[in-house]
Symmetry: C2
Subunit: 391 residues, 2 copies
Amino acid sequence: MRITDIRHVSAPLASEMSNAFISFKTMTTNVVAVETDVVRDGERVTGYGFSSNGRYAQPGLLASRFLPRLREADPASLLDETGENVDPQAIWRTLMANEKPGGHGERSFCIGALDMAVWDLHAKLAGRPLWTILSERYNGGRYDEAVLVYPGGGYYRADKDIEQLVAEMHGYRDAGYRICKMKVGGLPLADDLKRIEAAAEALGSGETLAVDANGRFALGEAIAFANAVEPFRLAWFEEPGDPLDYHLNAELVRHYPHAIATGENLFSHQDMNNLLRFGGLRPEIDWAQPDPSLCYGLTETLVMLDEAERLGWSRRRFLPHGGHQLGLNMAAGLQLGGTESYPGVFAPYGGFADDIPIVDGHVTLPRDQPGIGMELKPALMDEMRKRLELD
Amino acid sequence: MRITDIRHVSAPLASEMSNAFISFKTMTTNVVAVETDVVRDGERVTGYGFSSNGRYAQPGLLASRFLPRLREADPASLLDETGENVDPQAIWRTLMANEKPGGHGERSFCIGALDMAVWDLHAKLAGRPLWTILSERYNGGRYDEAVLVYPGGGYYRADKDIEQLVAEMHGYRDAGYRICKMKVGGLPLADDLKRIEAAAEALGSGETLAVDANGRFALGEAIAFANAVEPFRLAWFEEPGDPLDYHLNAELVRHYPHAIATGENLFSHQDMNNLLRFGGLRPEIDWAQPDPSLCYGLTETLVMLDEAERLGWSRRRFLPHGGHQLGLNMAAGLQLGGTESYPGVFAPYGGFADDIPIVDGHVTLPRDQPGIGMELKPALMDEMRKRLELD
């Protein structure tokens, strides 16, 4: 087999939402398809990938820098030992040849989308769901039947009041979610506290509400916020300050006994190592949340998880950011702590298979769909194929 | 006055050289021109900028994401209080609106090139050399008459033997340089030691040779290398390991009494803060080497220097990477420790004004040329204007 074409496009992912740091009015994302000369059931076997929300697209980097390296490589060097499937790690190494170390942003997003497409293709050519391959190859055959998922919601919107926030949280509970997340840090503390109190009441007791400041707070503000929300016994307090301010994190945990979660804006194993070494996070309480679609893909995230284990961190403390099916496959096959979910936002990229039931905050995974499972989400497939001009 | 056009292009910067990490065979860089409606001496006042070597160009990011933000901004919001000059900080904030924190790479390179052009324009409209503005505005009017410069050379090339390396070092000494730098880490230790011994002998005594491993070594290798080169009393040992591996640095300095230098692959003040907090560097011995053209420009580098001072680091311990005239202006006007120089490589972007004399390892700066001084380097101006189709 061989790769016949790699298509890519910058697709719109715009919305009227905002978090404490940015508006999503002009958001875009990378969409990638890796086509092959293999035909099954009358269809060309193709892998699909995208970057999750929040960091824009990098079409120029793919076109001018990364795809030429694949085109110029010996096609056989991109295949695994069977010669009948792509080797995701070999492709990743080829993409990253002659790249200097450090500076992990942007290139990590477009390579993340491409790497997702390569793993989707790899699993499809193997005729298996990706999570079963991850389980077998990287987790001794173990896997989770059901994966904890939580909606990343509660965004700010100009016309959204507390009543609507409460209705959103009720909707998540009615859909089967147990832990739900809301945005904070975009309003004065007193106003945010009213929102938090209402959402917490809507969700009921038992560490069911998580809050996400999207890196907005300076240290003093983060401590003030932490003190104010301590009585709510939140599931976690996410991204209190700048994602690279490990000192802030280390100071904050001295003032806050409950869980902190962060890591969605760290895009390499080197950055994650630094968070775990210097950020003061407690391996028995806190959470790491890398986004595999943004941090150079599953390939790099596997390295990240291995390095974290060497630093004493169980995979169970990892909750992939981004609400996509790649995170879900990883959580099941590698037995992570769970993964984010976007039932209501970033459509059609956010969210899982259309008919996947959520039971007591957990989902099971399809057993028969080869690849990542994006074909079980027809609106996503339609959008990606339309943007890529594949129809 | 107003900005009438911003041109940008990905320009080739290819060569047959390599360091311990990458080849430069397909290297490119960002070139930017900011044009205005102001005409002086019959010429349209235009600011020029570029990214220094090693990290490729990002034309798609400028075109699709950053320049639209400037076009959509109220033109008056981009001017300083006089209304007759651009405000580099206001332009920077406009460029970075709706950008998430973290992920400092790629976007920092193209914004660095654009920010260089904006500061060049700002100084030209003020009719003054940039270094005098920096001195007045950020350094209480103090400046250095002469700036320490050192050539970043001694690259690997397939056909280059020790004799040629020695000739290169003699050439630098004959040109007036005192400290010279060579690449290491690309050959087995025993072979590199032969190169180092020959270069050190060529340069003579007195901490005149610096070596640069470009992030190649793991901790054990870095310690072995440090032990082997300790007798040479090097000026510094640069980028021993991965630029983000602060733990490696902190361990290494426990084994090496002489100077370490690093930081060219850290692209934000947050990353530099982490190096200074967690990297074990000694403010009285070691060196920090950010590249202003790669780390979001002079604007962000000014923040970086302020934050470093709060952490107890004198500006004198900063040696800007990149061998460009922006680093030279900063070193003079802000009284940094010096700056890198590329007399022989990365032409025409590397190097300073054509006729600038090097005396005992120091250069003086032109007093009359408004802006950064790129017009004193005609080959650079010709190349940039040709690539930008400005002639």
